[in-house]
Amino acid sequence: MSHTLLLVDDEDDIREVAQLSLEMTAGWEVHTASSGAQALAAARALKPEAILMDVMMPEMDGPTTVRHLKADPETAGIPVILLTAKVQASDRAAFEGLGVAGVLAKPFDPMALADEVAAVLGW
């Protein structure tokens, strides 16, 4: 079954690969945004089933964007998965209070990304 997903990453290359990977391996409908601000607008407009978001972005970073999403009743219910290259457990702990559905590690394997996302979301 096809799902809609919003992918947020400021790095063009990674965003493209992630989009390709999700489209080609899972057949999901993937919308993209390249900044936190774009993500907020897109989430309100598109109401995706889930959001996959990079942690480290300029201006508005992932956690801040998540806080905004969770503060807005229109988007608060959308599960968010964070993508991070942070390696320390202490860094990971910082995501705990955010109410995200999961945290996935970067670099990701394009062949396995959709499976990992699906596993977190129970798809």
Binding site: S2, E11, D12, D13, I14, R15, E16, V17, A18, Q19, L20, S21, E23, M24, T25, G27, E29, T32, A33, S34, Q38, M56, L83, T84, A85, K86, V87, Q88, A89, R92, A105, K106, P107, F108, D109, P110, M111, A112, E116
Partner: protein, 806 residues
């Protein structure tokens, strides 16, 4: 960027549109322009067939650039808000006469169709749900092709940071920039299949994120990393091994027959990185995030080795015991944040084979583990059994010789001495009654030799009357087992002895202050390595390290600070050297490092690297003022400097004093002679290089390694120094940059060849990777070697060493 020809320019659309459009147009070149100034510039300056511009970007500069395209010029698509355009936009559209206007929300398929028509190109089939894996790899490779250049620019930022650091000027912002770029690299390139580059980037990131000031050693490491990352990324994408982002996801038994490694670490990220490193070396991995989870996995399959993180609750110790016990003990290395000696003892008592202190890099952790998998790290325990009845010996071999215990047997007691020498047993098992020589006699002889005073001796005896037992213990035995023996009892007694030996060793042979071996603990091992070196015809280097001005530190700062200095130096040495090396503190501020399979020059190199790290350690005196330290070291080798430990030690000691005399803070090989005053100056290495930064970096590295060296920054300068009837300088090796202002490297080489100097002076050319013809010419003209730029310092030093040898 704006001058490059592109078939399609896309301005002001979501950033994923260009990539997507490119794919839909069968890989057509699509250029993305995020903002108006770039768009205006590109529209003016480059040739293109189609421009797709969002109405929001139609600022005067862009409109002006588009208006000039003419009626036969390239096609123009404008994307505009839904509904009737406002008067301003309507007027613009009237002026620009776009080929097509698309409204938001954008009909992407429509855009692709129209774009294909405008380009006269075939539109690639839409296949959003095609699950073909090959298709995905190819698509990923295409994305990589388009992004390779910008990604390599990230590496430039990291490299630039290394160079700034070398020149002593990396400001906080540049450091943060480099850190961010390294972070981005670490998180992205693995996705394209460059797992190693990702790992290297992570290391660079950690180095940059680390606390405090970065020093020269960090700079060198960072420069190395940047070079290595670039090299990785320049390999074709297919050549790289895809990053295993989901370690443990490989089903057991599927990925070939590499050894199975169990990783237990509560830090998931660390566990994953360890797994990634291990699978990169052909191991299969199972990851568990706690002792309980690990037990579940053990029930299914016993690993070949395990890496356990020590928790505070003793659950890991239980697990360790389970793994180390039993028919087939699993070698276990323990990772811990504590460096407590008591913990070490505890780990040893529970059967741990290694003890690593966190934080540790995954490569180093796996390094420590690999020898155990090969079965060569900690040697297996050896039991020497002496009995005149071959049947008994066979029984002992069968019963005792399992689980990391090897049994050497001897049926002729008269050859006891030879057997002892060759087996170097951890436990001796003696029959009480034998023809010729009795077990009691053998035991007494054994106890009279200082080398064998502490080896446990267990007797096998048919008589267990009080008198016999008394005699057995009086002869120096540790235990006895009645004959005929029962399997489990014998095994238990022997294992008991072996365990005590290991424990005693760990305690008695360790320097309490620093945790490295003490003199007594290391001498045996050093001797064993020496014997092995002689048997295997391998070199063996012995280094003597003496801290500089240590007495002054003790006097000035007190002994507590002095102890801290010793402990930290020991830690650096322990970290720098492999498990096959011996690191020991022989007293005072003197450390000894034995390096098997290394000659003098290798040894100097490795000790010098350690010196570079030690120099960066910062200590604090009682007034709170930071200070740093250095050491002087001498390196001797077997067989050149002697065949005995004490002769090697003397040679290393003499070299160490030369290092002190030459100004301390350096490593000197034995046989080193200071420069004499007569005749031409003589150096090991002359550096001919016009780049100040590189030259300084090289000089520093050469000095640390005790090489005599000079630097000249021009080709003509080099010729002046080296040639003529009375040359000023004799150099054994000339490091010659090919690219010099005025007389270039080849010119210098030609002159040296004409002057017939290439016989005694070896020239290493620093060349440009892409200019192969130049390299070939240099070699034909008599250059000894060449190293392409950008070079890695360790590689270059290796080549210098080779040139200096022979």
């Amino acid at each position: 960027m704006s001058a490059s020809p592109a078939a399609v320019l896309v301005a002001g659309l979501p950033p994923d549109v260009p990539g997507w459009l490119s794919r839909r147009l069968g890989g057509a070149s699509v250029h993305f322009l995020p903002a108006a100034p770039e768009a205006a510039e590109a529209l003016r300056a480059s040739r293109f067939q189609l421009a797709v511009v969002d109405a929001a970007l139609l600022e005067p500069s862009v409109v002006q650039a588009l208006a000039g395209r003419g009626t036969d010029g390239p096609a123009l698509f404008v994307t505009a808000p839904a509904g009737t355009p406002g008067p301003g936009l309507a007027a613009l559209l009237a002026t620009l006469k776009p080929t097509r206007v698309f409204h938001h929300p954008l009909d992407r398929e429509g855009l692709a169709r129209e774009a294909a028509a405008a380009l006269g190109a075939a539109e690639a089939a839409a296949s959003p749900a095609a699950p073909a894996a090959g298709g995905l790899s190819a698509a990923v490779a295409q994305v990589w092709e388009r992004f390779r250049e910008p990604v390599l620019k990230r590496v430039d930022v990291v490299e630039q940071a290394a160079l700034s650091l070398l020149e002593g000027g990396l400001d906080a912002e540049a450091r943060r920039n480099a850190e961010r770029e390294a972070h981005k690299l670490a998180g992205s390139v693995g996705t394209f299949g460059y797992g190693e580059a990702s790992r290297l980037s992570r290391e660079a990131e950690q180095l940059l994120t680390g606390p405090g000031e970065l020093g020269q050693a960090d700079a060198l490491r960072l420069a190395d990393l940047a070079v290595a990352i670039r090299r990785e990324l320049q390999a074709p994408i297919g050549a790289a091994v895809p990053a295993a982002a989901v370690p443990g996801a490989v089903p057991e038994g599927q990925a070939g027959d590499g050894p199975l490694l169990l990783i237990v670490d509560s830090d998931r990220e660390m566990a994953e990185r360890l797994a990634m490193e291990a699978s990169g070396r052909g191991m299969r991995t199972v990851v568990a995030h706690g002792a309980d989870a690990a037990r579940g996995s053990l029930a299914r399959r016993r690993p070949d080795a395990a890496l356990l993180e020590l928790d505070g609750e003793g659950r890991t110790l239980e697990l360790l015991r389970e793994l180390a016990d039993g028919e087939r003990p699993v070698p276990v290395v323990v990772l811990t944040r504590s460096d407590d000696f008591a913990d070490r003892v505890e780990v040893a008592r529970h059967g741990g084979r290694g003890f690593l202190r966190k934080p540790i890099s995954p490569p180093r952790a796996i390094d420590a583990l690999e020898p155990l998998l090969r079965g060569g790290g900690e040697r297996e325990a050896v039991v020497l059994a002496v009995d005149d009845e071959p049947a008994v010996l066979e029984a002992i071999r069968t019963i005792v010789g399992v689980g990391g215990v090897r049994v050497e047997t001897l049926s002729d007691p008269l050859r006891f001495w030879d057997a002892l020498e060759s087996a170097a047993p951890d436990v001796v098992l003696l029959d009480f009654q034998m023809p010729g020589v009795t077990g009691l006699e053998l035991c007494r002889v054994l106890r009279n030799d200082p080398r064998w005073q502490s080896v446990p001796v267990v007797f096998l005896t048919a008589q267990t009357d009080p008198d016999t037992v008394r005699r057995v213990f009086a002869a120096g035995a540790d235990d006895f087992v009645g004959k005929p023996f029962v399997g489990p009892e014998l095994t238990a007694r022997i294992r008991n002895r072996l365990e005590r030996v290991r424990l005693q060793r760990a305690i008695a042979e360790t320097d309490a202050l620093t945790g490295v071996a003490n003199r007594r603990g290391s001498e045996d091992v050093l001797e064993r390595f020496l014997r092995l070196a002689s048997a295997q015809n391998e070199p063996f280097a012995l280094a003597l390290i003496d801290l500089d001005c240590f007495k002054g530190i003790n006097d000035r700062c007190g002994h507590a600070v002095g102890d801290e200095v010793l402990a930290r130096v020991a830690r650096v040495l322990q970290k720098r050297f492999r498990s096959e090396d011996v690191v020991a503190r022989w007293g005072g501020e003197e450390f000894v490092v034995g390096m098997y399979g290394m000659d003098r020059a290798d040894g100097v190199q490795r000790i010098a690297e350690a010196l570079e790290v030690v120099r960066e350690e910062v200590f604090t005196d009682p007034e709170g003022k930071p200070f740093s330290i250095s050491f002087s070291a001498g390196v001797a080798d077997y067989p050149a400097d002697g065949r005995e430990l004490h002769t090697l030690y003397r040679a290393a000691d003499a070299a160490m004093y030369q290092a002190k005399a030459a100004g301390r803070d350096r490593v000197v090989p034995s046989g080193w002679t200071p420069e004499r005053g007569e005749g031409p100056r003589s150096v090991d290495v002359l550096v001919v290089e016009d780049d100040d930064a590189i030259a300084r970096l090289l000089q520093h590295a050469l000095e640390t390694r005790g090489y005599r060296h000079e630097w000249v920054n021009s080709g003509s300068g080099a010729v002046e120094l080296l040639t003529g009837p009375t040359p000023e300088l004799r150099a054994r090796v000339v490091l010659l940059d090919v690219d010099l202002p005025g007389m270039d490297g080849l010119g210098v080489l030609r002159r040296l060849a004409q002057e017939k100097l290439l016989g005694r002076t070896r020239v290493i050319m620093l060349t440009v990777r892409t200019h192969e013809a130049e390299v070939v010419r240099a070699l034909e003209m008599g250059a000894y070697d060449h190293v392409p730029k950008p070079f890695s310092i360790p590689v270059l030093l290796q080549r210098i060493r080779r040139a200096l040898r022979g």
